[in-house]
Symmetry: C2
Subunit: 406 residues, 2 copies
């Protein structure tokens, strides 16, 4: 497997683009993205588990009842959630895009991210569609523009692509995503759109997406607030010409592994670019009885406000890590638990068998000053290991989310 | 029922005191508290559910196997948790206190709050005990000193007392507590010690304490981090002379109601004085199917970092409230959900049937500028109602918990 350029336009037969259409007041900020496949795709999606779901989530879920699609349209600026005319506007956004592309309405998947409770101005989308379609390109610039158009308070564009061989065929997978951007008055919204030219049956594609999502996007947290709009979509148009994947064979595993690496890279970027974040926090739970338990424990650590604030302060405050493990709801033996911190600057053991070790505070602070900090926890009770990613809690997080309207 | 002065020394037969014994470097800060009853008490305790428990928690749980006690000793500065000699030091603290008071070791309950992972200097306690016992008094000044000695980063002392009639007898209940104080490098620790002169059987006392705790201390959150040291203890010495309460009769209900009001007042103060907090947030979920569900929903709202940051910014960001309800894990119909904000400055409806209402932003900001902000949520599905309390997320929270050691 190789990392390549081009994002969602790297796979054969995909075009993409992004423009400013007028949903946002700031004219220099793109707010409408479009991804289109030349051929009909096997399609799959995973959506927020929040009971309160945005209208575009329902519309895309409904369209995926038949797991085929040709296009994804998404706007930033307004989440189209809990607004007086949310569902009408979502359907209109889908209908207008299908009409402009001259494809079936059910073949268009949709997404929105931004302010909650405010009606989406679909007229802006209608007015912008001809320009957006005109600008669609299979060059890397198309994916670049689309990735920018879905950003909210993200500080970096998130875009990755890989290629690998399946038999004689070369297969590509590309993805764009947006993370912990929060735009007033709204909550974090994760959107991720993946394209591939792999030839794969839709039901198997969905299984691969689910397995990979559980190990990547479902293992990150910025602030514990699950959004109303989270959507992960994948389109696979089959143009790589590999033998169609219809079951979990060796080709499926090769594809799934490439998808896993792509999604891991995007998920890490999302955590690292969490609102206000200065540190990416990677928490690895080792030697655990089960994978499920290791995941709950690791998530409890990356979700702990106290641990997050300690990492912001470059403070090797392992007591907060042990405490967060303790209130996770899972049982384990604190007296068999070891904790260490590491980064590019080295590693340091801070807790052995549940008791504090004497350690060099200066060395610990040096290690924690790096952008990426790793917390390793060993439970000495089994063989399972899980990695989760989060970010630190900073003044800027409070500023971004507290200061906007008043 | 009447509010009275005197805290834990308000009930007949209790003395208390607090001193600086040397556990903390700052000589002006009290660090050792003692509460003693003239007569043997029915005693009950509730402790942290964290798998990682501090040594004093285990020692007190063990002593309460026989639900009798005469004294509570507690220190601040060091949590006596996860330290190399934590259990030995906890037992020694209990033994020394019993020896100095000339009572049975099992009759002494103990507590600690402060830094995790560091050994407690029991020598300081041994040295301080004669002075502390010398200073014990049944005046209000004794409770005042004890309340101050358990404070960590608390900014206000937390102390309440009530009296009420049971038959011909006048019964008093007093309590002191410490809240969201965090002292580096540590996690929030809640301690609450209650005294009463009520005459009550220990098993019934435990039931009252459990019922009340579930509706008060278990309904507050500052940052979602459950400490290793949380302890709620009650001593009832029977000196009020009421007819002994041995079952859940009318006297039990009268006592429980007074205890509920005392604990509600202490719990609210704890939330209001959460680390860095500028607002007390009261969240009331109305018209819910069950109490359990209403509590989970209200806790999800007061635990949401985004909602907490919005209230800090005086931003009527109801979308975050609805979102937090949505990811609570409970099911409800968003399209039947109403949300409003209120304070001493008035109230404002912001969401009706799950959709945003047009509202006066300036009026909303005025309402949210008050110290106590109430979020009312109505689900229109039943008759149960629950209130939970939290606080906002502020720069100071991050500062207190991030800046200490580096």
């Amino acid at each position: 497997m190789e990392w390549i350029n081009g994002g969602v336009t790297a796979p054969a037969g995909f075009k993409a683009g992004g423009i400013h259409c007028g949903i946002r007041p700031n004219k220099t900020k793109y707010d409408l993205a479009l991804i289109v496949s030349e051929k009909e795709c096997s399609a799959a999606g995973l959506f927020t588990k929040n009971v309160v779901k945005a209208a575009p989530v329902y519309v895309s879920m409904n369209s995926l009842a038949v797991p085929k699609a040709k296009a994804i349209i998404a706007n930033s600026g307004i989440a189209n959630a809990c607004a007086p005319h949310d569902m009408e506007n979502a359907l209109e956004m889908q209908r207008l895009t299908a009409e402009a592309l001259q494809i079936d309405q059910q073949d268009v998947l949709i997404g929105s991210t931004g302010v909650i409770g405010v009606d989406l101005n679909v007229k802006s989308i209608e007015k912008g569609l001809p320009e957006l379609i005109e600008k669609l390109t299979s060059d890397a610039s198309g994916s670049d523009a689309a990735a920018k158009a879905i950003m909210t308070t993200d500080t970096v564009k998130k875009e990755k692509a890989v290629c690998f061989a399946l038999g004689d065929a070369t297969v590509r997978i590309g993805g764009i995503s947006k993370g912990s951007g929060m735009i007033h008055p709204n909550m974090g919204t994760m959107l991720c759109y993946i394209t591939s030219d792999v030839c794969i049956d839709a039901s198997v594609l969905k299984e691969a997406l689910k397995e990979v999502c559980d190990q990547t996007f479902n293992r990150i947290s910025v602030d514990g607030d699950t959004s109303t709009n989270d959507s992960l979509l994948i389109l696979a148009n089959g143009m790589a010409g590999n033998e169609m994947i219809t079951e979990k064979n060796a080709d499926y595993e090769t594809f799934k592994d490439a998808l896993l690496q792509l999604c891991t890279a995007l998920a890490r970027e999302m955590a690292k670019d969490g609102e206000g974040a200065k540190h990416l926090i990677t928490c690895r739970v080792h030697d655990c009885e089960t994978e499920e338990k290791a995941e709950i424990l690791a998530k409890s650590v990356i979700g702990s406000s106290l641990t997050k604030a300690a990492i912001f302060g470059c403070d090797a405050n392992w007591g907060r890590v042990l405490c967060a493990l303790g209130y996770s709801g899972e049982s384990f033996d604190p007296l068999k638990t070891d904790i260490s911190f590491s980064s590019a600057k080295g590693d340091i053991a801070v807790c052995k068998n549940g008791k504090g070790l004497a350690f060099d505070e200066e060395k610990a602070a040096e290690i924690l000053k790096e952008d990426e900090v790793i917390i390793d926890i060993s439970l000495h009770e089994g063989n399972e290991e899980v990695t989760c990613w989060g970010c630190d809690l900073t003044y800027d997080y409070v500023k971004i989310n507290g200061d906007y309207r008043t």
